[in-house]
Amino acid sequence: MRRIAVIDYGMGNLRSVSKALETVSKQSSIKITADPQVIQAASHIVFPGVGAIRDCMLELKNLELIEVITQVAREKPFLGICLGMQALLSRSEENSGIDTLNIFPGNVKHFDITTDKMGQRLKVPHMGWNKVKQTYKHPLWNNIEQDSRFYFVHSYFASPDSDDVIAGTSDYPDSFAAALYRDNIFAAQFHPEKSQRSGLQLLENFVNWDGQS
């Protein structure tokens, strides 16, 4: 039986994530938790999050979760979502600059306010359903069509030092990393738990994933 730990550090509602996981994996045990022991005992780790990066890092420190997250991110199938992806980079521009977990070397940057080809202003946050181009054949993309749409809502995006860790890209208006991977880690800027069929498929793939990229 899969034991999935959804890391709860007070950043946003985790109910949708856990309900979506329940829907795709009726046999799994799903725990929303901030307990390092439960996290260590889990087979799969989900690291979600919405909100601001400063609060995110503060909460992780206060709850003494940084060590255990860094550890399980080396060992178990690990899925970062949205802010839970951005926190895996080295540093974020948000809140005047915040050091983050440094699991993927690179930065998190703000979208420039700009216009599209039609001259219409591009809004920030980047909010809504955008196409994701799968740039690496990762097991988490199984049974998901190339260029499927996923639901995004964010004003900052990950810019890893190496392109080799990019699993998928989106355009807004320039190409940015919509998903990262390395070994047992996969991280998505979009919200699979809010991305209907494609999102549920990705979560199902994660639950069945052995952590090999």
Partner: protein, 257 residues
């Protein structure tokens, strides 16, 4: 550019029941918000908005249960508006499974509330709802004023200035309803929509007045809206969300099909 423009069906809910008559021939209980939300999800709705139209304390508890039930079965973004007055109201809705909350009268009463809410929960979940009415005559420059209490109470506040202010206070999105057009089925107030959409950096949802599919396309193309919200055009089975998207796509708008 491949970000899709969004179509958002809106359900008016009173004491846990969808009102303004939803009529789908093939669902058992058309007043049940869960059944209706599931139907719109199947049709390809990009998000769903619930509006608690009476928003008494008792109603709000009922609404929490509705949101919980829908969020367990429908995996697209959900917004809840109506009677959101305190940080605790927001927390409870988000914990129940809502992704965003709509704040309307409470923002007018106390703009700092929007700031507090955005700092606490992030701008991505704070939608400021604006009900605007045109107050200029034909000879004057266009001017819209915001109204509260379902459009009954004037505030003297300019709608465009208010939208800009709410964005600086942390609103992540603006839900803009024309009180002149709401219920008329004669299309969005395109001048208002365009004026607000061009004035702010966050997405704007156009609302009020949709009577035919072309109105949705016009809201995007002429009104520069990022999303369109409609109720009756979908409720009465005149059109499905899928038909609306096909029509928009045929006119060159990016949609999620």
């Amino acid at each position: 550019m491949s970000l899709a423009k969004r179509i958002i069906p809106c359900l008016d809910v009173d004491d846990g029941r969808v009102v303004k008559g939803v009529q789908f021939v093939d669902i058992r209980d058309a007043g049940d918000p869960i059944e209706v939300a599931k139907r719109y999800d199947l049709q390809g709705a990009d998000e769903i908005t619930f509006l608690d139209i009476t928003a008494t304390h008792h109603d709000r508890d009922t609404m929490l249960h509705v949101v919980e039930a829908v969020a367990s079965q429908v995996f697209i973004p959900l917004t809840v508006g109506g009677g959101i007055r305190t940080v605790d109201d927001i927390r409870r809705m988000l914990n129940a499974g809502a992704d965003k909350v709509g704040i309307n009268s409470a923002a007018v009463k106390n703009p700092e509330f929007v700031k507090e809410a955005a700092e606490k929960f992030g701008s991505q979940c704070i939608v400021v709802a604006i009900d605007a009415k045109k107050v200029s005559t034909d000879e004057e420059l266009d001017k819209w004023e915001i109204f509260t209490h379902g459009g009954r109470q004037p505030t003297g506040i300019d709608a465009i200035e208010w939208a800009k202010k709410m964005v600086t206070y942390g609103a992540g999105e603006i839900l803009l309803t024309s009180m002149d057009k709401d219920g008329t089925k004669s299309g969005f107030d395109l001048e208002l929509t365009k004026a607000v959409s061009d004035a702010v950096d966050v997405p704007v949802i156009a609302s009020g007045g949709v009577g035919k599919l072309q109105d949705l396309t016009d809201g995007i193309k002429l009104g520069h809206a990022d999303a369109v919200l409609a109720a009756s055009i979908f409720h009465f089975g005149e059109h499905t969300v899928g038909e609306a998207k096909q029509q928009m796509a045929s006119q060159g708008i990016e949609v999620r099909l």
